[in-house]
């Protein structure tokens, strides 16, 4: 059987699952599509067209697996702006101009895809993006709140609309018409359904998503008047407007403003926001995918661009990848792109079969759905979450949010980026660090020889400006491998990077690999949050390091608990017990920290900082070592891989000691010491076989204790575990031979 038919079989087998999830998604996509279009001041049907075209094109040509495409939240504010400014008062004409802008932005997205600009979203600081999303949320909330309470004709900037909310509520209680009261009644009820839907844990009730419940109930409400022979209390201005025959009433773009500045700005804004929203959503959905597949973002970007252009040509809005609908898709068991296609097909069926019913949907019901969506983008929780990461993040977030609210998205995100840059320079008290090193390739990747694990070293600084370089390297490592990312030569790591790495950590863990960050222990932070900015401080020695745990330190603490050992992060200068090892004869020990110890067996594993050389040739080295105290005296010896540290042992008067009958051991290891016979006796068969069959460690004895060293760098927690195992086995074997 060839793999090809295998795939086809699997595809057919999975079809029912995808059919079902496509259906469920279409139940949400219908109200959201109508709602998002209305929120953009475009005809309601345009949102559905975007979902249908998007679902079909991206399902056929896309590069992702379980994403759903259609009209997006983020675009609402941009499209609304475009329709208002381009139409100059005439909303329908503005919509036609905007369609032209959508067509062109689709072409631009297609180009971005061909230029492999799937990296685009990486250049935005995480907090600035959060701020932008919050601003979009507030924008949707501000406008839709008024519609939800029956005030259909409120216009103005986001801030103005927000300020008017209390007045609107007051107005509703004081002199509202019957129609407004009915509309606001439906609105508030719908909002309650949205809020309390997730609290009702009834499997039958949960079969239909909340937005669909709202549609069903409000349509039913409308029909009930017919059955009771009563006049419906709302006229058509409170209901959504769908053309009699959708197919013969398509709108077509008007390209006559194509060279005007406003038009070009709109195209640029639409492309930027659509690309960012899509790219972020694709990444987020990849994390949800039960098969942890990696999406081809460039291919998806091309498909989205094509879909957007086609959608614009027949009167639809932008097509972007949407996170909320995609997650519903995953939750309902979707496994491939056919779900997206089914979602589009169901929408076609709904539009063709239920035209009459759809026309009975009150605007207030849809507005309530959007009010809830908008609120979700900017909950107080979002603020708390960001404030926890650090003071500077909340400054970036608020700057972006406020500037976006008062101006527009493009200005907002630009100011957010600049604010981040200035804050980074301020924190480091240096613009130099960034200016001189920004274009330097600062990431090195290589595969270590013995363990086959990947080692990545990062230099200078790592922030949103150059995170893509680190990402490029990480992307090139298969996720089932072990990776060590060393930041010890990097003086500044920002929040965007820490958060981005966290995503990689998850992906690698999911696929059986691992990523460990080392070298961050000496970086100071402003908060205890794992994503907080880390930077090396000149005065860091004055600070207690256990105050701000790195992930590695947390893992070390957990490891200690696992082994029943104790853990101490604190720096200790009591290092005299190390100084009589030959290894440290020419090295000056500063302090040790991150100590794991086992009282019972007298085992210690810790990071130690020492200096080599002096004055100009001085080098500070941090490394992880193990120290084992032995109950009995044993000869002083050192076991090294052939020749590496030979010189200093020669100086100490050591000589090479061969072990008889073990030529291989003699070839691979350099065993030296003064008391030849005693050492030869110590190295019995089992010990030699143990050493030959295990990874290499440098081992030294000072007469009553052992010192084990793997590499002259800090070890990852996994490596530490391996070292502890090695040390314990060695201790057992040596105890055994000492008893003889």
């Amino acid at each position: 059987m060839t793999p090809k038919t295998n795939h086809t079989n699997q595809f057919i087998k999975d079809l029912p699952k995808n059919f079902f999830s496509g259906f469920v998604v279409s139940l949400i996509a219908l109200p959201l599509g109508l709602g998002l279009a209305i929120a953009s001041d475009a005809p309601p049907i345009s949102g559905i067209i975007a979902a249908i075209v998007g679902g079909t094109v991206v399902a056929l040509l896309g590069g992702s697996n379980v994403t759903i495409t259609g009209p997006g939240n983020g675009l609402v504010i941009v499209l609304l702006g475009a329709i208002t400014t381009l139409g100059a008062g005439d909303l329908y004409q503005g919509y036609l101009f905007t369609l032209a802008a959508i067509v062109i932005s689709g072409i631009l997205m297609l180009l971005l895809g061909f230029l492999k600009m799937g990296r685009l979203a990486d250049f935005f600081p995480a907090s600035a993006i959060e701020g932008m999303l919050a601003a979009i949320g507030w924008g949707i909330f501000a406008k839709q709140f008024h519609i939800m309470i029956g005030h259909n004709n409120e216009h103005g900037s986001i801030v103005k609309l927000l300020v008017q909310i209390p007045n609107g509520l007051l107005d509703l209680f004081q002199h509202a018409t019957t129609e407004e009261l009915v509309a606001s009644g439906i609105g508030f009820l719908s909002l309650l359904i949205m809020i309390f839907y997730s609290k009702i844990r009834n499997p039958y009730f949960q079969l239909i998503p909340a937005p669909m419940w709202i549609l069903i109930l409000s349509i039913g409400f409308s029909y009930s008047f017919g059955w009771l022979n009563l006049p419906f209390p709302m006229d058509s201005s409170y209901l959504i407007n769908i053309p009699e025959n959708v197919l013969s009433n398509l709108a077509f773009p008007d390209f006559s403003k194509i060279l005007q500045k406003e038009f070009i700005v709109s195209v640029f804004a639409i492309t930027l926001i659509a690309s960012i929203e899509s790219l972020l959503s694709i990444k987020a959905v990849d994390k949800l995918d039960s098969q942890s597949r990696r999406s081809n973002v460039n291919k998806d970007l091309k498909a989205l661009g094509l879909a957007t252009s086609l959608s614009g040509l027949v009167g639809g809005l932008n097509v972007v990848t949407v996170i909320a609908r995609s997650s519903v898709n995953v939750n309902n068991g979707a496994t491939n792109r056919s779900a997206n296609f089914f979602h589009a097909s169901f929408l076609v069926i709904f539009i063709l079969l239920f035209q009459d019913q759809l026309k009975r949907i009150p605007l207030a019901a849809l507005a309530a759905i959007l009010v809830y969506t908008g609120y979700k983008l900017a909950t107080p929780k979002t603020f708390r979450k960001i404030a926890k990461i650090g003071k500077e993040q909340i400054v970036i977030f608020l700057t972006t949010l406020i500037v976006t609210l008062f101006t527009n998205l493009i200005t907002g995100i630009t100011v957010g980026i600049l604010a981040t840059l200035v804050i980074h320079m301020f924190i480091n008290k240096s613009a130099f660090l960034f200016l001189t090193n920004i274009f330097k390739p600062n990431v090195l990747l290589f595969q270590e020889h013995e363990e086959k694990s990947y080692y990545i070293s990062v230099k200078y600084f790592c922030s949103f400006l150059n995170f893509y370089k680190l990402k490029n390297k990480l992307d090139a490592v298969p996720e089932d491998q072990n990776v060590i990312v060393d930041f010890s030569m990097c003086s500044f790591v920002d929040h965007t990077v820490m958060e981005g790495l966290e995503n990689y950590l998850d992906t690698f863990a999911k696929k059986g690999g691992s990523i460990e960050l080392i070298g961050l222990d000496k970086h100071s932070t402003d908060s205890k949050h794992p994503f907080a900015i880390r930077k090396i401080l000149p005065m860091e020695t004055l600070r207690p390091i256990e105050k701000y745990f790195t992930r590695r330190q947390t893992n070390l603490r957990d490891t200690a608990a696992e082994y029943g050992w104790s853990y101490q992060a604190k720096k200790s200068t009591k290092t005299y017990f190390l100084s009589n090892f030959i290894f440290f004869k020419s090295r000056e020990i500063g302090y040790l920290y991150n100590r794991l110890f086992d009282e019972k067996e007298n085992c210690n594993v810790f990071d130690v900082e020492f200096t080599e050389g002096a004055f100009v040739a001085k080098e500070v080295v941090k490394t992880t070592v193990m120290h084992i105290a032995l109950p009995k005296q044993l000869p002083i010896f050192s076991l090294d891989r052939e020749g590496l540290l030979e010189r200093i042992y020669k100086l100490a008067g050591f000589k090479d000691i061969p072990i008889e009958n073990y030529p291989d051991f003699n070839r691979r290891f350099f065993l030296s010491g003064e008391k030849t016979v005693e050492i030869q006796n110590l190295f019995h068969n089992e010990l030699i076989i143990f050493l030959e069959s295990n990874p290499y460690y440098h081992i030294e004895s000072n007469g009553h204790s052992l010192f084990i060293l793997k590499k002259e760098r800090l070890l990852s927690v996994q490596e530490i575990k391996a070292m502890i195992y090695f040390g314990q086995q060695l201790q057992k074997l040596l105890k055994y031979s000492l008893q003889d």
Binding site: N296, F432, K440, F446, S457, K473, V621, L644, E646
Partner: protein, 303 residues
């Protein structure tokens, strides 16, 4: 066969005994009267001694009695008394004088003191050391940390990139490791993303790229093995040889690697060309020069 091998190794020498083959017979050090003069002279004399070379000290500036007394006092501290040292005094612009001296006095190795991190101004204007590195006709050794007392050189890193000059650089690295008594020599093969030729976009392309990389690694390893065959066997004694593939920007990442493994000396091919564009878009050796991780030996074939 044997003689062929030797000729390959040092290029121009006709000496038959491999151990006596000295690629660096005359070493030039341009000195200035700075606080680090003593350290610099002691370090260079030590290096000249290890290479079994003549040391030529050149000062660009007026010869005065005071200066002469000073330099002779320093020379009295030199440990290796049998070292042949001559001093010259010349007037002119430092870089021109040194370039001409290399050309005219048959210099094999020019030793320069360098700043470890160049600042922005120097980077664009070009310090003397950088200018010299580009313009001289012989090999150049840039010292970042000269020391009065000997700091042993333990680990040498050499580039192994695919280039006609690489075998020469590697053989020189072997010679230097041998002469300085280094314990380990790492030959670094830089594999560029471009060579992998698969852009990683999803799981499938990642798999392809990983296989392509493995293949490249093997190809590079076998290429290096071929180069190693031409190295005299005695140079392998007491020396641990390792090859390492790294992924990064060519020319730059090897410096980063040397820093990560805390090498003592980095050996590289001489840069091919260097125009104004290369200065604006620095590449290859430019990166390393702007941010020296270790002592750096730039190997250049003498014409």
């Amino acid at each position: 066969m044997n003689s062929l091998r030797i000729i390959h190794y040092i290029g121009a020498s006709s000496d038959k005994k491999a151990s006596l083959n000295k690629p660096f017979k005359t070493v030039l050090f341009g000195f200035a009267f700075s606080p680090t003069l003593k350290t610099n002279v002691l370090e260079t004399s030590r290096i000249a001694h290890f290479f079994g070379a003549k040391l030529l000290l050149l000062h660009v500036g007026e010869k005065t009695e005071e200066k002469e007394r000073q330099i002779h006092e320093i020379l009295s501290y030199v440990e290796h008394k049998d070292l042949e040292i001559s001093i010259e005094w010349k007037v002119g612009s430092p870089d021109e004088v040194l370039v001409n001296a290399c050309q005219n006095s048959g210099i094999d190795l020019l030793i320069l003191g360098a700043l470890q991190h160049e600042n922005l101004y120097q980077f664009y204007v070009g310090s003397i050391a950088r200018k010299l590195t580009r313009n001289v006709c012989c090999s150049v050794l840039l010292l970042i940390r000269p020391s009065e007392e000997r700091v042993p050189c333990k680990h040498v890193v050499v580039n192994g990139l695919e280039d006609e000059d690489t075998p020469f650089a590697i053989s020189n690295a072997f010679y230097v490791s041998h002469a300085l008594g280094a314990k380990q020599l790492t030959i670094v093969e830089e594999i560029r993303q471009r060579e992998v030729a698969v852009s990683i976009e999803d799981d499938k392309s990642l798999k392809k790229a990983t296989i392509a990389k493995e293949r490249l690694k093997n190809r590079e390893d076998s290429r290096i093995r071929k180069v190693l065959k031409s190295i005299p066997e005695e140079f392998f004694k007491n020396l641990k040889i390792k090859t390492q593939s790294i992924f990064g920007e060519r020319g730059y990442s090897i410096g980063h690697y040397a820093e990560v493994v805390r090498a003592d000396l980095l050996v590289m091919n001489a840069p091919k060309k260097s125009g104004i564009l290369d200065r604006i878009f620095p590449h290859d050796i430019e990166y390393i020069l702007s941010d020296l991780p270790t002592d750096l030996l730039i190997v250049r074939k003498k014409n």
